[in-house]
């Protein structure tokens, strides 16, 4: 059955993974046929187009449509004119008339690639390959379709088929080479890219093929290898050949974007759409780039332009949906307010209207304290306001960050702006939003201090290291499954660590790499001092690679570094890793005993697990089961001690911490209870009871301002008991000598509950004080 192009792009979205960005970003613009078709009339029209004579080209394509031509050629003309539906219908007619013509199927596949329907496209290429197993155009098209997913081996097989077959047309060979060069450059293998580009140039010159794509790739390579003086030269070369070739800019823009140099990416994309105003993918990327740079209005404009021109792109549709809510639901809070002397705020919190009153006090506190710490620790004062966006909807956050939903990330930093999940985006106890904010803020400093030159692993490593050393729940926290990989010696050499983040070879490798990177900085800090981390960081401003940076700063080779780091891990974790299996068994035995209600056995197993690895305070920590078992046995003191140890080690389970805070209150240890409740807020700020209790503690300690903050947050959570919540706010205002505000909230409470005696008492007090 013939597939049909459709515009309900949302149905496509789940099929398209993030890696689609690689090739999909470039396919929007018209692509050179490179000899795939040999119809002279069509090629004449194409030549007019590429030489910049757009109006003549348009007339030329129209003449094909209006005169007698084979349907597959008319389809190409309709495609060039932007009528993809008619192009599809004509290709279908052509296929019916010439069922053995593989190139009609190939071009149909290309049309579906162009509309992001990669599975359908792949099916057409496969049909073509059934007719002609060596059809190089079909192999290249299939490889492009597969690049929308994680299909590395199959892509390689198709590209190799093009290379190996002696009769592959030069144009198809060039396309295959361009795909390979792009892929190699994405993996930062620039020397290999150089070699491949040289081979491609030989082919282009020998076969008299167009140069423009290679020039665009040369410009991109010059950019990423910091030969910026050569970038424009290559772009100009491409434009000399084809003045309307927007990819001359869009290809370098893409590489600027994936290396997180968003300002330069934006400049390139801007020029791409100036050269080729109908380059809808460039409009989208430009819009997304503006959004990353906090230029919201411009960002929206280009996303909308992209949507108007290309309704097929699922990324565009996702962005349009996000922007609908983004502009309506989010509010900006600036700090300090009013700004200091220069009139520029230092911090902007962009929060959902429904969450702003709850999150803002704690987000502000965390952001400001982390900024002060990182400014000092990395000798870098922020030169622009830092913008923190917190999304209650995880998919909105992901679309805002990378354009496509369905990716399990928590935060993304673009520079001075970062976006992250709200705790409401993760309704389970494993998400500690305070740590995520801290992590992302560290990125702001490492990325901006190096003018976006810091390698991914280096920036991630510092963020993890800062979580552990200065974050809201200090302490080295390593998930249990990562320990298993550590025991299996799975850490990568430092020179290859970026691959663990960018090109993981197993499911857990990204998290393993995060932990390794964090431990590397822990190692450098312990063995060489924190200053060396900072010294090394600043070498990246000039484009120094990490191997040279290590040699320059630490006076050892990367291999020696790896050896020393391994020794460090052996010393720090050797005893645990040697007993990992026993620890895991004890952890499992704890859970089993707890599940079976065998409290004594739970405690015994938990004690064994704690003995082997006392610092383990993740959500399946044995401390939690042990405390619960002590509670069952009414061993209150032991329960309290267990929870207290858990907290001191950086345990962050909100439920466990709330239990501990209540214990502290019962024991009259108000200061400790306050500290615990504050930690709870960085895990779960949406619990109204916690805010009420914390406010009460502040009142007891004569800190009405802090109490008021907590009571206001409690009220913002729309509690069931509105009378009590309003009464609490009124009492805090009274303590702050603000009788007018106090009376406002008090009357709200009394309107709900006229016989509420504490509120009546406060009314009497206010009344008497006023007389």
């Amino acid at each position: 059955m013939k597939a049909t192009l459709y515009k309900s792009i949302n149905r496509l979205a789940p099929l398209v993974a993030c890696s689609a960005i690689l090739f999909a970003a470039h396919t929007q613009a018209k692509e050179h046929l490179l000899g795939a078709l040999d119809n002279e009339t069509l090629l004449n029209c194409d030549n007019l187009y590429w030489s910049g004579q757009s109006l003549d080209a348009n007339a030329c394509y129209l003449s094909i449509v209006r005169t007698v031509h084979p349907p597959e050629i008319q389809a190409e003309a309709m495609w060039a004119l932007g009528d993809l539906y008619t192009a599809d219908e004509l290709l279908e007619q052509a296929a019916q008339l010439s069922p053995d013509n593989a190139m009609i199927l190939v071009r149909t596949g290309e049309l579906y690639n162009r509309t992001y329907q990669y599975q359908t496209a792949y099916n057409f290429f496969n049909q073509a390959l059934t007719l002609e197993p060596d059809n190089a155009w079909a192999h290249v098209g299939a490889a492009e379709a597969l690049s929308s997913g994680n299909n590395g081996e199959e892509i390689t097989a198709h590209l190799q088929a093009v290379e190996m077959y002696f009769a592959s047309p030069p144009g198809a060979r060039l396309r295959a080479m361009i795909m390979s060069i792009t892929s190699v450059m994405e993996r930062d293998l620039y020397d290999q890219a150089r070699e491949s580009l040289d081979q491609a140039w030989e082919l282009v010159e020998d076969e008299d093929l167009p140069h423009m794509q290679l020039n665009a790739l040369e410009a991109a390579l010059a950019f990423v290898t910091r030969r910026t003086y050569q970038v424009q030269t290559y772009i100009d070369e491409a434009l000399n050949e084809a003045p309307v070739y927007g990819d001359a800019y869009a290809i370098p823009a893409y590489f600027a974007s994936i290396t997180r140099r968003y300002a330069e990416a934006g400049e390139f994309y801007q020029k791409a759409v100036e050269v080729e105003p109908h380059h809808w993918a460039a409009h989208l990327e430009l819009g997304q780039n503006y959004l990353r740079l906090n230029q919201i209005t411009e960002g929206i404009r280009h996303v909308e332009t992209s949507y108007e021109g290309d309704g097929f792109n699922p990324k565009t549709l996702n962005m349009m949906r996000l922007l609908d809510t983004f502009t309506e639901n989010f509010v900006d809070l600036t700090f300090p307010n009013p700004p200091a002397g220069d009139g520029i705020p230092k911090l902007v919190l962009r929060l959902d209207r429904n969450e702003v009153d709850v999150l803002s006090p704690y987000a502000q506190e965390l952001a400001e304290s982390s900024m002060a710490i990182f400014e000092e620790r990395y000798n870098f004062p922020a030169k622009e306001p830092v913008i923190v966006e917190i999304f209650p909807n995880h998919e909105d956050f992901v679309v805002r960050s990378i354009g496509m939903p369905g990716v399990g990330i928590l935060g993304v930093t673009f520079g001075y702006l970062f976006a992250m999940d709200s705790p409401t985006g993760h309704p389970n106890e494993t998400y500690h939003w305070g740590t995520t904010l801290w992590h992302e803020m560290a990125h702001v400093y490492t990325v901006e201090a190096t003018e976006h030159g810091v390698p991914r692993w280096y920036s991630e490593g510092i963020s993890v290291y800062e979580e552990w050393n200065t974050g809201p729940i200090p302490g080295i926290k390593i998930p249990a499954y990562v320990l298993q990989f550590m025991a299996e010696d799975a850490f990568l050499p430092v020179a290859e660590l970026d691959n663990g983040f960018m090109r993981p070879t197993y499911d857990e490798q990204v998290i393993v790499s995060y932990m390794q990177a964090g431990l590397i900085f822990q190692f450098i800090s312990d063995e060489y001092g924190h200053d060396k981390i900072v010294d090394m960081l600043y070498l990246f401003v000039e484009g120094t690679d990490e191997v040279t940076a290590i040699e320059t700063t630490l006076n050892i080779s990367d291999r020696e570094f790896d050896r020393h780091f391994k020794q460090y891990i052996d010393i720090q974790f050797g005893p645990l890793l040697n007993n990992l299996q026993i620890w895991q068994q004890d952890l499992q035995a704890t859970a089993q005993a707890y599940g079976a209600g065998s409290w004594e056995e739970t405690i015994t197993a938990a004690n064994r697990a704690i003995f082997t690895y006392p610092e383990y305070v993740e959500q399946d920590s044995p401390y939690i089961a042990k405390a619960l078992a002590h509670a069952q046995l009414e061993q209150d003191e032991l329960k309290f001690e267990t929870l207290e140890t858990f907290w001191h080690l950086g345990g962050y389970s909100a439920r466990a911490l709330k239990e501990l805070a209540d214990e502290y209150i019962a024991r009259g240890q108000q200061t400790e209870a306050i500290a615990v409740f504050r930690d709870v807020h960085y895990a779960d700020p949406f619990d109204e009871e916690t805010h009420g209790k914390l406010g009460d503690l502040y009142i007891e300690l004569d800190q009405p301002e802090a109490a008021l903050q907590e009571y206001m947050v409690g009220l913002a959570l729309n509690p069931l008991d509105q009378a009590a919540a309003n009464y609490r706010v009124a009492s805090a205002y009274k303590a702050l000598n603000d009788p007018a505000q106090s009376m406002d909230y008090l009357m709200t409470a009394l309107d709900i509950a006229p016989q509420y005696r504490p509120a009546q008492q406060l009314l009497l007090e206010l009344s008497r004080a006023g007389n």
Partner: protein
Amino acid sequence: MGENRISRATLISCILFLSGFSLSAHAELYVTIVQGLAGEPAFGENFHSQSQTIADASASLTDAEKITFFNGENATRENLLSHFSELSNTMNEDDRAAVYLIGHGSFDGEEYKFNIPGLDLTTDDLLNIMDSFPGQNHFLLNTSSTSGALLEPLENDNRILITATRNGNEKNATFFGEYFVEALSSEDADLNKNNNISIEEAFAYAQRQVEEYFESQGQLATEHSEIAGNGAAQFTLARLSPLVISNENPRVAELQEQVLNIDRQIESLQLRRTELSNADYIEQLQALILQSARINEEIDQLTSE
């Protein structure tokens, strides 16, 4: 403190009970609790405990003989229809009926049934029962799964209907009933601090608790309770503290009467709220509550002497 002294809380509860309860002087409250089939022992214990709590809470408002509890083999359709028929003959226009159905239900896409030994109670049975009571504003609580299927056939402005689910398609065992019953003895559910738990308060409490339960479990809610009909705020289901009235101090009694009078004025003012500007409303409300607060303070002083 001597035995004849009344605590402040008790006094207030007395006053507010009188003020808040909407039955007229001679009106009676008739409570019927039906504990349905459990299926599993755990459900059986739970249903029994809930039914017993309802009976205890109702005893704070009405005489023991006006509370009827059906469970086990007694809870047959025949017995229930006979009981309700008798009850409708006993009640007068001013009386109120509160019917609690605690158990499992089923909905086959067309008809809802409450599961009891033998023949189930059908939707028509329930409709006939509720229609048979003289007067209006009677109350039916159904905590079973699929109970939302009753909403459409039974919904009526003149009766208060609460179901644990919003339709007949929510088929999982529900948590709502447990929380609703919990509200009947919880100060946290007493949102207007009048020492009584109204239908509206118990519903709000239970609904919030169910939401929080599913949120805390990280699960999508499998039940969404519904309330229909007027007068839920005025219909008291339970009193939190025992009612003890002192006749020993005439001055206290006089002051109580004044507070009662002010409470009536507050209720009247609240009903006229839309006729007033906000500033006028608040000013008048403040004056009344201040007056009430002063009297309550005097009562406290007199009763603590």
